[in-house]
């Protein structure tokens, strides 16, 4: 029954995809009027003017671009012309580094906040004010203090992935069942052993949910951050191709961003399954 449901869902998915591509293809077939012009003038004009081709790329154009990129993902022809694999690599490295730094701060502080009602209350106003600040709003301060655009984007990633992890860790640690803590107390378990063997596994699913949300946000923010700081990265690639007016490249980049985000999310979902427990 489940396999047949999955099978039927796959058929519907494929049908929807084909319908979408079909409509896209028809919509971008090109209906523009072709003006009469001299061959010299026509050479200066694009295909839109000379053949009535749609300015919006169709599925075939994007498919051709896709093939082009997949064939040479790692070429490097100077600052403004690098393979998509390289650009993606830069983005992943920035997200990875910024995210890792955020983990280093969020998990210990989350533990502290979750364990101590005093620290919780004391830090609460700061967290409440800092949390709603758009991560990109930090950019000027980061650029001024760090004086390096690439490191600044790492900082922005750090600060945006900090909050969900911090709050989820604090919540997970703070809501460990009283009876499990009582078990640890009656067994005279040392504080370190209690933290590692009772509180951490009990809070792990909540912590991992926070980490998953954080990774999602980090991947959203890196594109915007790279559009701002420029130079390298998938976000910069999108902006650069917009300046080149290569919409086929932009659409292809969107697809890659979406796929990568999905892979990251799936990775965290399977990590979450590892630490999940059933009560």
């Amino acid at each position: 029954m489940t396999s047949s449901l999955r099978f039927r869902a796959a058929i519907v998915s494929i049908a929807l995809f084909l319908a979408f591509v079909g409509i896209w293809h028809i919509a971008t077939r090109g209906t523009g009027t072709v003006a009469a012009m001299t061959p010299e003038y026509a050479k200066l004009m694009g295909l839109t003017a000379t053949q009535g081709k749609s300015a919006m790329p169709g599925p075939l154009d994007v498919g051709a671009k896709l093939w082009e990129h997949l064939r040479r993902p790692f070429y490097d022809n100077g600052p403004n012309d690098k393979g998509l694999g390289i650009q993606l690599g830069y983005s992943i490295a920035r997200v990875g580094l910024g995210y890792f730094l955020a983990v280093l701060v969020a998990i210990p502080f989350g533990f502290l906040i979750g364990m101590s009602p005093l620290i919780n209350r004391a830090l609460d106003p700061f967290i409440q004010i800092l949390k709603p600040i758009s991560p990109l709003a930090w950019m000027p301060l980061a650029l001024y203090t760090i004086k390096d655009s690439s490191v600044s984007s790492v900082f922005v990633i750090s600060i945006c992935s900090l909050w969900p992890m911090l709050l989820n860790t604090a919540h997970g640690v703070g809501s460990v069942k009283r009876e499990w803590l009582d078990v640890a107390r009656t067994l005279e378990v040392s504080p370190v052993r209690k933290a590692l063997h009772v509180v951490l596994p009990a809070a792990a699913p909540t912590i991992l949910t926070g980490m998953r949300i954080s990774m999602g946000i980090a991947w959203l923010v890196i594109v915007a951050a790279e559009m701002l700081v420029g130079g390298t990265g998938i976000g910069y690639f999108v902006w650069n191709e917009w300046n080149n007016l290569s919409l086929a490249n932009v659409i292809f980049a969107l697809l890659v961003i979406g796929l990568m985000g999905m892979l990251l999310d799936l990775g965290f979902a399977s990590l979450g399954k590892l630490v999940a427990y059933q009560e």
């Binding site: 009582d182 009656t186 005279e188 596994p201």
Partner: protein, 284 residues
Amino acid sequence: MKPFVFVEQLRKMYPGARAEGPLCVFDGVSFTIDKGEFVCLIGHSGCGKSTILNIVAGLDAATSGRVIVDATEVRGPSLDRGVVFQGHALLPWLSARKNVAFAVRSRWPRWTEEQVARHAQKYLDMVHLTGSEQKKPAELSGGMKQRVGIARAFAIQPKMLLLDEPFGALDALTRGVIQDELLQICAATRQTVLMITHDVDEAILLADRILLMSNGPRAGIAEVVENLLPRGRTRQTIHRDPHYYPLRNHLLDFLVTRSKRYRNGAGSEAPRTTAHEPAQEAAQ
């Protein structure tokens, strides 16, 4: 013989609503337990019997009064007092054996992995869980979970055992089976036990002495009933003992009617000790 456990003048107050002032849950609770004795504490919900057990365990603090176990005043939880919790309190991410091993490791930190595993297995075998050691608590039935809880408490070889309505959540058949097991284990280990229950039959089967608590607020121990049914009681034969029904009626009468009578005055009176005489009961 000097008693093993002294509970002296325990009182628990909770800060209540401002108009009513602090709420006194129980007051003047005193009793003793001899080494190797099985004592049950019976009372209606809200009389604070779980709180008393938690105070003896060291998990909760009394407003006044003190508890002395083995000539040492209780100041906090200790490996000397094993606790079986009401809601089994197993760590759900660990298998049955690892739950027991966690306790064993706490008791003997220097043991090798193999020693810990062997010791844990011995106690799992004791509660008839052989073959289910690798299962997580979610895969075990309610009765099996509570068995793991019992194995965990016994595995640390505590000086006394505290059971907080351990069978409350189980169906009657499972409860009977585990009661029998507990009875056997206690008889074999000569364990000193304090158990909370609201099941009269369970108390008669298991306990050597039954402490009856009056209703709260200001609850107290109203009567102490000696169980004169000889040790070696079993579930199959206990109801044929001529002393069984008089004792059972006595306890039920207390819960149904007399427990209310002591209200608001329990602390001042000394509990009446009944060395339960069936003849006396019949004469009433």
